[in-house]
């Protein structure tokens, strides 16, 4: 490949290039302004930009394309040529799903109105995008990605756009990465019983069951049912679990939805490759989810895709959500990438970020592992505001100043070349996420508008489990096993990564210690992967229970054969520790290494990143109150303020700072 993905960014014809990019929508900017705007982009310190190539904008009628003949702003090829002349790299996103606040999300209307293409909800009617959330200015019927007619239409669009992309691929051209669909799960397929129940999707679901079980007799044995053939099986349309025997039917539907999204993204990637998009990485971006039906670890392990990122639109008040996602990316993906990092916000969002808020969230993401970023949007356009450059090519000084400082900082401390010291990975139990998805209800359109409490959509199941599965399945609780692990790490001032039980084994082996919440059941292959990790020298901490069942609730003695009671057991070259929730404090104190930096303000967070020759110390105050903090190092340090109002350097074993609310300071550190 002319362009390959590395752990630092992209290798473009032998040259290491960081993915430090911003979005510019050519078709929304006056053609004569393009040169000025790209100059402003480069003056802000960006060498790479990103753009959608919107289907509905270019295919103005079936088979009729406007590439600038009618509207000069649509001359995508000229835009590529200008990028090449300017020395800018370009990432492109040809859809088919765009969003971009476009009317109908960038789908041509005739595609959306084709009954063969429309997705259905569990009630048998259409699925309109306005069913969840608020997406002005017009509701539209969501397409089914299970529909062959949809992919035929996508193929015709790709037939038109891919030759242009192919002509401008690096190293000869400017295009260095291409996206395979955008936020495929975004259209509300994350709720288990919301969609897609279209005929095409139900056919695909039955094909999934056929592939999984081979014979109807095998399925009937698992389901304890008497289906005549696969074509007589209908998916569950709500949680109807009464006994353990009902679980496989529901679980298969949840897994089918994972497959639905995965296969859609892979199929689109293959369609791009088949049409000459070769020699550059293909990536996908996930809207915000990192549990079922999104399976980022498995998606990235598919050879059709090079790279998966997670978008981020969060403010300072959601610091925890921001850093959890960055830790997940750092623990799971090849190059922790935020393909859409909110820079400004869409016009129907109730809260426009200030430049100070933008700074805080960006530094928080860098601090916790982000190594590649595309700021969405770098240049404003219709239905978007709060970016550093206006559509007229002028700077918004308060925002532009931040990006100028950030670019200078990253030039000195290159993005992707610093790494955090994380001896521990905390794995989310993917099967617990599936359980939560199965045991939920009220997946009806517009329920979210009512602002009902989330607990109302939880279904209590009595399945005779030994451990409180529902409680452990809630990743947001602070009083379950996982919540206690996170709390202990915070109290011990330990930085860590997050992934899930589908983590790639090679990746898992990077961590000396792995923690995962476990209950009565777990997929057999996931159990085996964890046991293999232990056999090869890993330290696995599990609890509050040990699985003795597989995901279909059938007897499965893999982990339970290795450890039978709470405590520690040597296995192969490693060990398994079964820690009850109440014993976590002691267990982690015994096994987790002590940090080399301590600090006295519990609300403050400190992360040290290590580069080839330099170390960076990020010190965050994620609260709305001023914090005074004193850091104590194991050995004396020489500290130089590099993102701080402090004017002088510091030397010694201690550093005392006053941190303003929602601010992050960065210091360069070296051992004295």
């Amino acid at each position: 490949m002319a362009v390959t993905l590395t752990e630092q960014g992209l290798d473009i014809d032998g040259k290491a290039v960081p993915v430090y990019s911003g979005s510019v929508h050519y078709w929304r900017l006056e053609r004569e302004q393009w040169p000025l705007i790209l100059d402003k982009v480069q003056s802000l310190g960006f060498g790479m930009i990103e753009t959608y190539i919107p289907w509905s904008v270019h295919e103005t009628a079936p088979g009729v394309f406007d590439w600038g003949a009618s509207d000069p702003r649509k001359d995508f090829e000229a835009f590529c040529q200008l990028c090449e002349a300017s020395g800018l790299y370009l990432m492109v996103r040809p859809g088919p799903l765009i969003n971009a606040e476009l009317t109908d999300f960038g789908f041509p209307e005739w595609v959306l109105l084709d009954p063969q293409i429309q997705a259905h909800n569990a009630l048998g009617t259409l699925h309109l995008d306005a069913a969840w959330g608020f997406h002005p200015p017009r509701p539209y019927p969501v397409p089914s990605y299970a529909s062959p007619a949809f992919f035929k239409a996508v193929g015709e669009w790709f037939d038109a756009v891919c030759p242009i992309i192919a002509r401008h691929l690096a190293p000869k051209g400017c295009i260095v990465a291409v996206q395979s669909d955008n936020e495929t799960c975004y259209m509300f397929q994350d709720q288990a019983y919301a969609t897609d129940y279209s005929p095409a999707s139900i056919t695909a679901y039955r094909g999934f069951l056929r592939e999984r079980y081979g014979t109807i007799a095998h399925l009937n044995a698992i389901y304890t049912q008497h289906f005549q053939d696969f074509d007589t099986i209908d998916p569950p349309r709500d949680c109807q679990i009464c006994t353990a025997a009902d679980v496989p039917w529901h679980r298969d539907w949840v897994e089918y939805k994972e497959r639905y999204i995965h296969q859609s993204v892979v199929q689109i990637a293959k369609m791009l490759r088949d049409r000459g998009v070769l020699g550059v990485p293909l990536f996908h971006d996930v809207a915000w989810q990192y549990s079922t039906p999104l399976d980022i670890a498995r998606m990235e392990s598919d050879s059709a895709l090079d790279w998966v990122g997670l978008n981020l639109y969060r403010g300072p008040h959601d610091y925890t959500g921001t850093i959890q996602r960055m830790r997940y990316l750092a623990g799971t993906t090849r190059l922790p990438f935020v393909p859409e990092f909110g820079s400004g916000i869409w016009s129907h969002h109730p809260r426009t970020p200030t430049a100070a808020e933008q700074e805080f969230t960006t530094l928080a993401a860098l601090m916790h592992g982000m190594r590649a970023v595309n700021f969405y949007m770098l240049v404003e356009r219709e239905r978007w505001q709060g970016s550093p450059i206006t559509r007229h090519g002028t700077y918004r000084p308060e925002y532009a100043d931040f990006y100028q400082r950030l670019s200078a900082f990253l030039k000195h401390y290159p993005l992707g070349t610093f790494s955090r010291q994380t001896p521990v990975v905390t794995l989310l139990n993917y099967d617990l996420g599936r359980y939560a998805a199965m045991a939920s209800t009220l997946h009806y359109a517009h329920v979210d508008l009512l602002k009902l409490p989330e607990e109302l959509g939880v279904v209590d199941l009595e399945l005779g489990f030994r451990w409180d599965v529902a409680r452990e399945a809630d990743h947001h609780r602070s009083d379950n096993w996982l919540g206690n692990v996170f709390l202990q790490f915070k109290q011990r001032q330990l930085d860590y990564d997050i992934s899930d039980s589908h983590i790639n084994p090679d990746r898992l082996r990077r961590y000396p210690i792995a923690c995962i919440p476990t209950v009565d059941f777990m997929d057999a292959s996931d159990q085996q992967r964890l046991l293999d990790y232990v056999a090869q020298g890993g330290c696995l901490i599990i609890g509050p229970g040990v699985p003795s069942l597989d995901s279909n609730l059938r007897s499965c003695a893999i982990l339970s054969k290795a450890i039978q009671e709470p405590g520690e057991v040597a296995f192969g070259s490693g060990k398994i520790i079964w820690a009850l929730t109440g014993a976590l404090s002691t267990t982690l104190a015994q096994h987790v290494p002590a940090p080399t930096i301590r600090w006295d303000a519990p609300e403050v967070e400190v992360v040290e990143q290590v580069g080839k020759t330099q170390r960076l110390l990020f010190i965050a105050n994620p609260k709305d109150q001023k914090q005074r903090v004193t850091l104590t190092f194991d050995t004396p340090r020489h500290l130089l303020p590099v993102w701080s109002e402090a004017a002088t350097s510091s030397r010694g074993k201690h550093l005392t700072l006053d941190l303003a609310p929602y601010t992050i300071q960065v210091w360069e550190a070296s051992h004295d």
Binding site: Q118, T354, D460
Partner: protein, 262 residues
């Protein structure tokens, strides 16, 4: 009233940050106020499914497993004085609303009309979702029908503008361009070619703004300039004319209101 291809452009981030919290569609449809202590009882055609108290894990006594009269039950529970609002929700009603709203592609409906349809379906049936006291959804005292009628009755084209000032600084500067009963363009004062020496709720600013609107977009039908304090009071006021009249007398608000829009 929202053009499916409306232009929302040249948005000053300061205006947008201050404006955003006032115009959330949830405000109109939501079943509860933010932070409210509520009791939610979910049932399926009378069969009790789930009870959630938004502040405690302790479930109240006296909720029957079979609910025959949701209105009476809601009144009885609210009468205990433990909750600010009691919700008795039939799951089938929520399903019915979703089914009705998505029966067809609805290409004939603008987004606001679509959500109004949802609102009508959701709250038009007292049995389906019983709320005591009634659901609080509101848009500062205006109703959807009033706003829609107002936009429809405007000359075509026409502009509406709002200028809110905090001390000498612009807090909100909003411009709407309407045509044929629909909002076609949304922009801010940043999108205007105008210049005024000391902007504020003054005759001079009002005149300059009206001239700029007329020259650049369309004749102004209604323009309000006021202080931030007046704006907040005006939104919350029951008698909005009285509020503005008092502000005008205090030189903290001034407006232009074309005859046809009165």
């Amino acid at each position: 009233m929202i053009d499916p291809h409306w232009q929302v452009i040249d948005l000053d981030p300061v205006t947008w940050r201050h404006l955003g919290p006032f115009f959330e569609p949830h405000r109109y449809i939501a079943a509860a106020q933010p932070g409210e202590h509520g009791l939610f009882v979910l049932h399926d055609a009378g069969k009790l499914l789930r009870v959630v108290d938004t502040q405690t894990n302790t479930l109240p006594s006296g909720i029957p497993t079979q609910i025959s009269d949701p209105e009476t039950l809601a009144q009885e529970l609210y009468g205990r004085g433990e909750w600010q609002r009691v919700h008795i929700i039939n799951r089938r009603h929520l399903a019915w609303v979703a089914q009705q709203a998505q029966a067809t592609p609805r290409r004939d409906l603008t987004l606001d009309a679509y959500y109004h349809l949802v609102y009508t379906l959701m709250w038009g049936n007292r049995e389906g979702y019983v709320c005591v006291p009634p659901h609080p959804g509101q848009m500062y005292g205006w109703t959807y029908s009033e706003i829609r009628r107002y936009i429809a009755d405007l000359p075509s084209p026409a502009t509406l503008a709002l200028g809110v000032y905090l001390d000498a600084a612009l807090f909100i500067g909003l411009v709407l361009v309407c045509q044929g009963g629909q909002i076609r363009r949304v922009t801010t004062f940043e999108g205007l070619n105008w210049n005024v020496a000391h902007p504020g709720p003054t005759e001079q600013t009002l005149t300059a703004l009206c001239e700029a609107l007329g020259a650049q977009f369309a004749p102004p039908a209604a323009v309000l300039l006021c202080t931030e304090s007046v704006f907040s009071t005006w939104l919350a006021a029951t008698d909005k004319w009285a509020c503005l009249s008092e502000a005008r007398a205090n030189a903290t608000a001034i407006w232009h209101y074309a005859d046809q829009a009165t």
